[in-house]
């Protein structure tokens, strides 16, 4: 903030000009931090990126996305007691195309893996991922299951992990706050190649399994291949 401070007048000057501008009858509530920051000159010099990050962190549109048990606690964190909306992050969007944050609340299984990737791909950049619960860290209690993906990071990049089974709503709110900090600082996890990606079936290596499925899947169908042992 230090370089910004120099741009403005002192606090008193700012307030006095403000009061002059507003006239009488206005109360203290109008002396917002922002107004104080702007002071007499209604301009502020900053980097556009920085400004955008600041805006982004304070108006997050979260995808309405429920998978498993953790989504119940996620509903509570929208609810009356915990009310994540106070932090500018409580507007759920039903369509991935309008959302910039996705909370992954639950176990991901083989059938849902490709769908999760698709939903993630449909969100516009920049996008951020909060993974909620042990299941999205490692598969949680179901890690040994034949059908369970061992963590969300096998499929999508994750910014914040909130551990717990399920995490309390407070924990999730804390995770969201931490992510807002990250966003304001302009950080997000790099998009890298994940163990499980969507590929065209024709591009897969022709091994035994692929041969066997050749009659069931078209060459240009998107598929996700699970190599349980290597991953």
């Amino acid at each position: 903030m230090s370089d910004e401070d120099q741009l403005h007048d002192t606090l008193e000057q700012a307030q006095s000009t403000q009061e002059a501008r507003m006239g009488t009858g206005m109360d203290e509530r109008f002396n917002s931090k922002l107004r104080q920051a702007f002071g007499t000159s209604p301009f502020m010099l900053t980097k556009f990126d920085k400004f955008m990050n600041w805006v982004r962190g304070n108006s997050m549109f979260v995808l309405l996305f429920g998978i498993a048990c953790c989504s119940i606690e996620m509903m509570h964190h929208y609810g009356t007691k915990h009310d994540v909306d106070r932090f500018g992050a409580g507007v759920p969007r039903a369509s991935p195309r309008q959302a910039d944050v996705i909370i992954i609340p639950g176990t991901i299984v083989s059938k849902f893996g490709p769908r999760l990737k698709r939903v993630y791909d449909q969100m516009p950049e920049p996008k951020f991922v909060v993974s909620m619960g042990s299941c999205t860290i490692s598969g949680g209690p179901f890690q040994e299951g034949y059908n369970v993906i061992k963590g969300a990071e096998e499929i999508v990049p994750v910014d914040i992990h909130v551990p717990g089974c399920p995490p309390r709503p407070e924990a999730l709110v804390y995770g969201i706050l931490k992510m807002q900090e990250n966003i304001r600082a302009g950080e997000s996890s790099p998009v890298t190649v994940k163990p499980y990606e969507l590929d065209e079936f024709g591009d897969l290596e022709r091994d035994e399994l692929v041969q066997e499925l050749a009659s069931e899947i078209n060459e240009d169908d998107l598929v996700m291949r699970y190599d349980w042992v290597e991953a």
Partner: protein
Amino acid sequence: MSLEQPELDVGERPDGGLDYDALADLLSEYVLDREQHINCEAFVIRPGDVPAVLSTLRDRAGFDHMSCLTAQEYRDRYESIYHLRKYDDPTQELSIVVPTARDDPTSESATDVFDTANWHEREAYDLVGIEYEDHPDLRRILMPETWQGHPLSRDYNQDQPQIVPLREYPNPMDKRTEAPDNADTMFLNIGPHHPATHGVLHLKTILDGEQVLDVDPDIGYLHRCEEQMCQQSTYRHQIMPYPDRWDYLSSGILNEWAYARTAEDLADLEVPEYAQVIRTMSAEMCRIASHLLAVGTFALDIYGDFTAIFMYAVTDREKVEKLLEDLTGQRLMFNYLRLGGVAWDLPEPREEYFENVRSFTEQFRESLTEYHDMLSSNELFQMRVIDTGILPPEEAKRYGCTGPVARGSGIDYDLRRDDPYGYYDELEWDVVTDDGCDNYSRALVRLNEMEQSARIIDQCVDILENWPVDDRRIQSNVPRTLKPDPDKEIYRAVEGAKGELGIYIRADGTERPARFKIRSPSFCNLQSLEVMSEGEYIPDLIAALGSLDIVLGEVDR
């Protein structure tokens, strides 16, 4: 009910018991052998006789409820077990065991007799690998279509790679999606990621204008191998956390009770009375929490009301969860019941806890009137839900519906009363039914059931308060490792929040179950969606789905 003396079914004794010899006589040409399961007798029959046996039992002996189908693989054979009981008296049970050869596991399908068998047999085919002849639509149900192997069969290799396709769903505006004989139809996907499906359910619907011609639920997006997890855990402590995660709308203790009841009967364990009262009280709190969410999300589905009813429901749920947290230490995944009792006693100071519970139920009764104001007596709500999503009682029975769905169709079936367990038969409460058979009745049943639950909780608090100090036993003596005798088999159910939640366990002499099968009420109830919604408008389909109150963790397990 007629006023005449009700006629007894074949094999029914006047005292309400079952005369298995008479039943065996009725089926004399089919029965190869008779086995003794803990809950009832089992008749062994040939694979080709399944429809004949089941229809005889249904029409002549009154077994109109096929609760569950368990499939399992032995070293030398496959076995399907049809668990039958009666809606009128669920303590009258009979199992039909159908062994099939290892090299050719085919059995005749029971779908002609019970519609509910459709999905059960698909699941048995999917997970275990038994084929059912004459099944109308035998495909995988929980696993992706391209899965290799049957995961619960003996020689399944869990480490083999798998390929799962992401099939693009057809574009609804595309000409090719029209059904061939009806050019005006349109194909529409709802889910698996959709706010109205309560999780990851996928509905394939065919529409004619706004009318639903056909709906085909596609499930398995949350199949997290619950049965496998339970089969590789030990009876005493390791299994108990999993039931919490079947029906995760805070119904944890109800689910835990299903396991506790089954395992206690299997291993012959006592439960102290005091613990039963605590169980009863906490289970009813769970029921309230669960029904509240059902009602809240139902309102959300019907008028997109995220602000009033949904938030009211969440607020009230917070209060119940607070009470449950004080008792169990967790808000959602309680892990509070133990075999032979509960984990620990009520929180100290007890008076304060009783006070909190009392003030909750008192306040909750008031807020229930608010829910009635906002929902059941609200004209808008009534216009949307009365006379939509009709589920006639006969259909409900054929689809094996239980819980508030069945009771909303006028079927008087509640295991808490009909197959008593816990402390329920000592308490004063009523089974709520409503014979409207529509979406409205199902919502109404839930609202009224919450009131009964509050009544039960109040009585439990009174009893607990006056319980003699030196008799507060929370657990009986349970051996450190439980090893039930080999080849003991049991099917037991409790009344979960969604209906009959049953568990089948076969012991093999080790400390882990050889087969652990979950009969989930949501799975059976969801099948009836077809009946409710075909021919209705698409918004009514969403309403019908909301009124079913499914939870995908329990549907897919």
